[in-house]
């Protein structure tokens, strides 16, 4: 088993296109399941391919355990990799696909058969051994691809968006299988996806990336609760956090659509910078009932009926500023398109970000100072699960 260390890892591509990497530092512990998460072109696949040895870094080092593997070919890194399209050879049977690599490496025949049985058993592929990929369902192919990556007994297991070709049901099922496999085998795993649900459910730690840089590395729970910056805040959650940029003078303007508790306003006005950025998750907004330290007056633009709740798109009611907000409201709240409503949120659910650096500065109040609780939160995982349901 192997720990992986990336130090100042850099990858530049010729030409203008390509998601270059801009100094990645990351330590992945032995046996850890790490998910690289980010939008298309953020560099997550590039990072994975650098670890696999399919690309060569232009700077920095990659270590497996203690040894630097920069110059080591992929084939010598003892890696198993699963690709998005499975890359099963259509003209070979399941058995041949599984054994092709072992045969090429000159593994002894008896050993090959032993491992084959093991894998077929583990992934319940026994009945399919003689079939060709086109005779398999999507999930079965996925399992064969997993099997092929595992049969070489890799010390590092890499997966590049392995579930994105599956339909929703299968995806969920395979997610569980992958989680199970990892629980059993405890192979150091790096998993690339743009799907936060996969990331939140599978990962020990999530690495959020954007534009070739790591934005945040943390556990799923903390990613949601304490996004390191505006990008992460907006990226995590469905939909992401509303982040409003409010000029300081707007806070004291009585005609402003914003109302903020005076004490809080005071502390903000005293801080540096000309504006403040406040973030509120859509699920943390509610129709104003009088008790909220932050109120926003806005106009309803669109209402999406999602069954469990309404997803309401609003526009801040101001000439000076056009800002869109999404709120998740109760199905029975009775708003209609065109209504001007006032939304509010308790201070401990409001995040504050630096206007310049966009870094997270904390919340307007601690949890203990909570004034109103909107949702009953019982247990660490509740947010994740809830988000999952909302998908």
């Amino acid at each position: 088993m192997t720990a992986i260390t990336l130090e100042a890892l850099e990858k530049r591509f010729g030409g203008t296109a390509g998601s270059a990497l801009d100094g990645i530092d990351l330590e992945i512990a032995d046996g850890e399941f790490v998910v690289l998460l980010g939008p298309s072109g953020c560099g997550k696949s590039t990072t994975l391919r650098l670890i696999a040895g399919l690309e060569t870094p232009t700077g920095g080092t990659i270590r497996f355990g203690k040894s630097v593997v920069n110059g080591v070919e992929g084939r010598d890194r003892n890696i198993g990799m699963v690709f998005q399209n499975y890359a099963l050879y259509p003209h070979m049977t399941v058995t041949d696909n599984l054994c092709f690599g072992l045969k090429s490496r000159g593994v002894e025949k008896g050993e090959i058969l032993k491992r084959l049985d093991e894998i077929l058993e583990m992934l319940s592929l026994g009945d399919l051994a003689k079939r060709r990929p086109r005779e398999l369902s999507g999930g079965q192919r996925q399992r064969v691809a997993l099997g092929r990556a595992l049969i070489g007994r890799p010390s590092v297991f890499l997966m590049d968006e392995p579930l994105s070709n599956l339909d929703a049901n299968l995806r969920e099922q395979m997610r569980m299988e992958i989680a199970k496999l990892h629980r059993i085998l405890r192979i150091t795993t790096v998993y690339v996806t743009h799907d936060q649900v996969e990331a939140l459910t599978l990962a020990d730690r999530i690495v959020v990336m954007n534009e070739g840089k790591i934005q945040q590395v943390s556990s799923p729970r903390r990613l949601y609760d304490e996004p390191a910056n505006i990008f992460v805040a907006r990226f995590i959650g469905a939909p992401g956090m509303n982040v409003l940029r409010i000029e300081k003078d707007m806070l004291i303007d009585p005609d402003s659509p914003f109302y903020l508790d005076e004490q809080i306003t005071q502390s903000i006005v005293e801080s540096t910078g000309s504006a403040v950025r406040l973030g509120i998750r859509p699920e943390d907004l509610a129709l104003h009932n009088g008790g909220f330290p932050l109120r926003i007056r806005c106009r309803v633009v669109l209402i999406e009926q999602l069954g469990t709740h309404l997803q309401v798109h609003l526009e801040v009611d101001s000439d000076k500023l056009s800002s869109n907000i999404i709120a998740k409201l109760d199905v029975n709240c009775g708003v209609a398109v065109g209504d001007v409503v006032t939304l509010g949120s308790p201070a401990h659910l409001i995040h504050r970000f630096d206007d310049e650096t966009e870094l997270h500065l904390g919340r307007l109040a601690n949890k203990s100072e909570r004034i109103v609780s909107l949702h009953s939160t019982s247990g660490d995982n509740s947010h994740g699960v809830r988000i999952g349901e909302q998908q």
Binding site: A52, G53, L54, E73, G74, R75, D76, I79, G80, M81, F83, Q84, N85, A87, Y89, P90, H91, F100, G101, L102, S104, R105, R148, G152
Partner: protein
Amino acid sequence: MSGAKLLSLNFRKVVRTLFVLVVAIGFSFPLYWVVVTAFNTKGGVYSIPPNFVPALHAGAFRYVLLHTHWLHYLLNTVFIAGVTVLLVLITSAMAGYALAELNLRGSGLFLLLTVGVMLLPTQALLIPQYALALHLHLLNGYAIQILPFAASTFGIFLFRQFFKSLPREYWEVASLEGVGHLRYILRVSLPLARPAVITVALLTFISSWNQFQWPLIMTQSHSVQPIEVALSHYTQTFEANWRKLTSAVIIALAPIVILFLILQRYIVAGVAGRDGGINL
């Protein structure tokens, strides 16, 4: 749809089918006619109006079959065409693979070189090519009939395109598993490229079989000449004897026609896909 309209539609369909029939018969008839002539009676060839039904007199055919070294010319042709096909497949697959899978500096130049060959007028190059063959002592051998055709623009393009259509991950998986390029080509790329292999093999075989001017110029002894050149010699030997001449024609035609009839589906598909592969 009104009855009259339906009628006119059916009528048009009939007319169309008739046209198709006429075209198909027009194209096939000369080949039928050669059979009629070869198996005609001695005087029947010159009868006016002509006989349209074969008289099935095999005398002339038997004579031509037995009194000339057809087997020998056929073997020459098959040998030349066979080796050419083999070499074309090898060079095309190799180059196609390198162009599709490896990011080589200079592959653009290579492609230009490949397409350029097609644009060079074949007639204009005959003289320097002959001079080259003379200098290299290749005249009158099998090598000069094979080597210049051992690489094909069409083959390279088709293989390149085919290999490019294979997901890149196929190779990446293989490379992570420690599979080398050659093993990968043999075990994965080529087996998957079967349609390309068949198309290139068939078209190369046909064009090699039908070579005439090249061996006519480059060879002198019958021991290495293909059937087409031999046939052109026999037009002198058999002169006015149309039964013998057409018998000889049948012998030269039969193998390629039979091959075509068996594999026509692949050949037609291969040719039809050709302009998709190489657009000028």
